[in-house]
């Protein structure tokens, strides 16, 4: 994975020094020589790769030309918590919306409610994240003035001290409720924009698994035991129908993380997605490499989390 992203990002054409220092750098040959030497740009690729691996093992992801040569690790440390905030809320909204509508859809199969929900989610999954983000921006922020159109919190508020590195958690722990509510206001629109692109898949999967589960023999057994319909539906039906949704959640994390590239850019939310965008336009190799790596790590962790959650939902899977 590392190797692939390294080779890819280094095969970008053109001399990156110009992109980093600006066109006028051509008048200062010593400067170019200095930067070239500093980043081993004149060495063969495998030597550059060696330096990269050694640095990576030491926790050094390189320096980011698009962010004034700050260490990439510190850019990511600042940006990642914001992205996690968006992704977390987007996942929650998406699951809640998806589960509620999925259950309703399965109860009213092929009736008007089911068809209405289908039209709604189809519009959602068919739209690119940037399109939904712009619609929400126009409606909620420019027309109704309900929610802010950018940044992760009010710039006038003092930021909370770093405890967990996640600003919203930190402000809660500190009792800084002004900051917390401000960041909550700022996260709603980007998270909603992302959630609207993914919840439809939850509806679709839950609807079909719910219909299948409710025809299973153990549901008939539960009914025969004389359990009331509510218990049968929720504890026997829904819990089993949730298993495919858990599998889906790890996939959804993948989509949500990808979507942050667009959504953060539209809402000027200072996260990894925005960093990807600027790194892309500025030929910032270390930035592109590191963000791709971060994406891959998040996705691996999400898969692991889904595997652990199975145990909770599926009685047939037990640890040990």
């Amino acid at each position: 994975m590392l190797t692939i992203t390294f080779i890819l990002s280094h095969s970008i054409g053109g001399n990156p020094v110009y992109a980093w220092l600006g066109r006028s750098a051509g008048q200062h040959p010593q400067l170019i020589a200095q930067v070239t030497k500093l980043y081993h740009l004149d060495d063969p690729l495998w030597v550059q790769y060696y330096y990269y691996l050694v640095n990576l093992l030491q926790g050094n992801l390189g320096y980011s030309p698009s962010r004034g040569f700050q260490p990439v690790a510190s850019v990511i440390a600042q940006a990642l918590p914001n992205t996690l905030q968006i992704a977390f809320f987007a996942l929650v909204i998406s699951l809640v919306l998806g589960i509620v509508l999925g259950v309703i859809s399965s109860l009213y199969r092929n009736k008007l409610e089911d068809k209405g929900i289908r039209a709604f989610y189809l519009a959602g999954i068919s739209s690119p994240a940037f399109f939904i983000a712009i619609i929400l921006l126009i409606v909620f922020s420019l027309e109704l003035h309900l929610l802010p159109s950018g940044l992760s919190a009010d710039a006038s508020l003092p930021s909370p001290s770093t405890i967990t590195y996640i600003p919203m958690l930190d402000s809660l722990i500190e009792g800084n409720f002004a900051y917390f509510s401000s960041s909550l206001y700022h996260v709603i629109l980007p998270a909603l924009a992302l959630a609207l692109t993914t919840f439809g898949v939850v509806v679709r999967v839950l609807r079909s698994s719910m219909i299948e589960v409710m025809h299973a023999n153990y549901i008939r057994t539960a009914r025969a035991k004389g359990l009331d319909e509510r218990t049968v539906f929720f504890t026997h039906g829904l819990r089993n129908a949730m298993i495919p949704v858990v599998t889906l959640s790890s996939l959804m994390v993948t989509w949500l993380i990808t979507g942050t590239i667009f959504v953060e850019n539209i809402f000027s939310y200072p996260g990894i997605g925005q960093y990807v965008f600027t790194a892309l336009t500025a030929q910032d190799y270390p930035g592109i490499l590191a963000t791709t790596l971060v994406f891959a790590v998040i996705i691996v962790l999400a898969n692991l989390a889904a595997d652990i959650l199975y145990v909770f939902f599926d009685p047939q899977i037990r640890l040990g």
Partner: protein, 296 residues
């Protein structure tokens, strides 16, 4: 026992066409999907063919400035309004149709062919080759398609052709997986054993007996997937990796008009609606096909 007549291939094909028409007559949403796809396809082909003869089909020249007032809201003369440079949005959207549509079809077509051949051959051969191919596809599943395509696209350089190549590289592995699974499902059925008994070559069995039996599933998946390609491509285009302005492209239009969201909201809205509409068309059609052919 009723006598089942053995249909000649031509009869089979006619039957398939008849059942497709029957599907559209029964399933209203699939019909809607087919109509949307047909409108997009006709527009794309018409614009492309006309451009070969140097004819501009769009009401205005899509890249010419000042064909109307600046930042005009939608009107009869300019149904989708005009942008800051006085270019007609409707003409720009129409002019971009061949690109966006062709990329969807080219990427899916490539993935379908390569994925089917690779996946079914791997499953049929089994052993080390199968194992190796599946590990290769694993790599592609570790990262989202857009991020991978973005990385490859950055490496290749900007441009529609390079983005198409990047998408083709990341798109075929799921098809190989699907084809492999389907091949494994049928490879132990009697008619395959019968073919083996006739000492047909492995390649012949694969091409004549295995692949025709797995194409339905793959085609349904592909129809649903064209929309996904269009969305991901519009993302790459939005990131500025596909076309160089002033050439029109849906995704690029949304990102360059985004700054005017406050003063002229129709600018980013119309290209976005068109992307969503195209994708919905393919989803509805794909869903209808899946229900009709009972592919899970």
């Amino acid at each position: 026992m009723p006598v089942v007549p053995l249909g000649r291939p031509r009869d089979k094909r006619a039957k398939a066409v008849r059942s497709a028409i029957g599907l559209l007559r029964e399933n209203k949403t699939a019909l809607a999907g087919a109509v949307i796809v047909a409108v997009f396809a006709l527009t794309a082909v018409a614009v492309y063919v006309a451009s070969l003869f140097g004819i501009t089909l769009t009401p205005y020249n899509p890249i010419q400035q000042d064909v109307g007032p600046l930042l005009a809201p939608p009107s009869l003369a300019h149904p989708f309004g005009t942008d800051l440079l006085g270019r007609d949005i409707f003409s720009r959207i129409i002019a971009a149709t061949p690109n966006d549509f062709a990329i969807g079809l080219v990427v899916i077509g490539f993935s379908l062919v390569v994925g089917t051949l690779v996946g079914s051959y791997a499953a049929f051969r089994g052993g080390l080759l199968d194992e190796a191919l599946m590990r290769v596809t694993d790599i592609f599943f570790a990262l989202p398609a857009l991020v991978l395509a973005m990385a490859i696209g950055v490496a290749l350089g900007r441009g529609i052709g390079n983005m198409t190549i990047a998408l083709m590289i990341v798109w075929w592995p799921p098809y190989a997986r699907l084809a492999r699974g389907e091949t494994l499902k049928i490879s132990h059925q009697n008619f395959i054993d019968a073919a083996r008994l006739f000492h047909l070559s492995r390649l012949r069995i694969l091409l004549k007996h295995v692949i025709p039996n797995i194409t339905t599933t793959l085609l349904v998946y592909a129809t649903l997937d064209v929309g996904t390609v269009i969305v991901v491509y519009s993302g790459l285009s939005y990131l500025g990796l596909a076309v160089t302005p002033p050439a029109p492209d849906w995704g690029e239009m949304v990102s360059s008009y985004q700054a005017y969201t406050i003063s002229a909201p129709w600018l980013p809205l119309f290209p976005g609606v068109i992307i969503a509409l195209g994708v919905i068309g393919f989803s509805l059609l794909g869903d209808g096909l899946r229900d009709a052919l009972e592919v899970s």
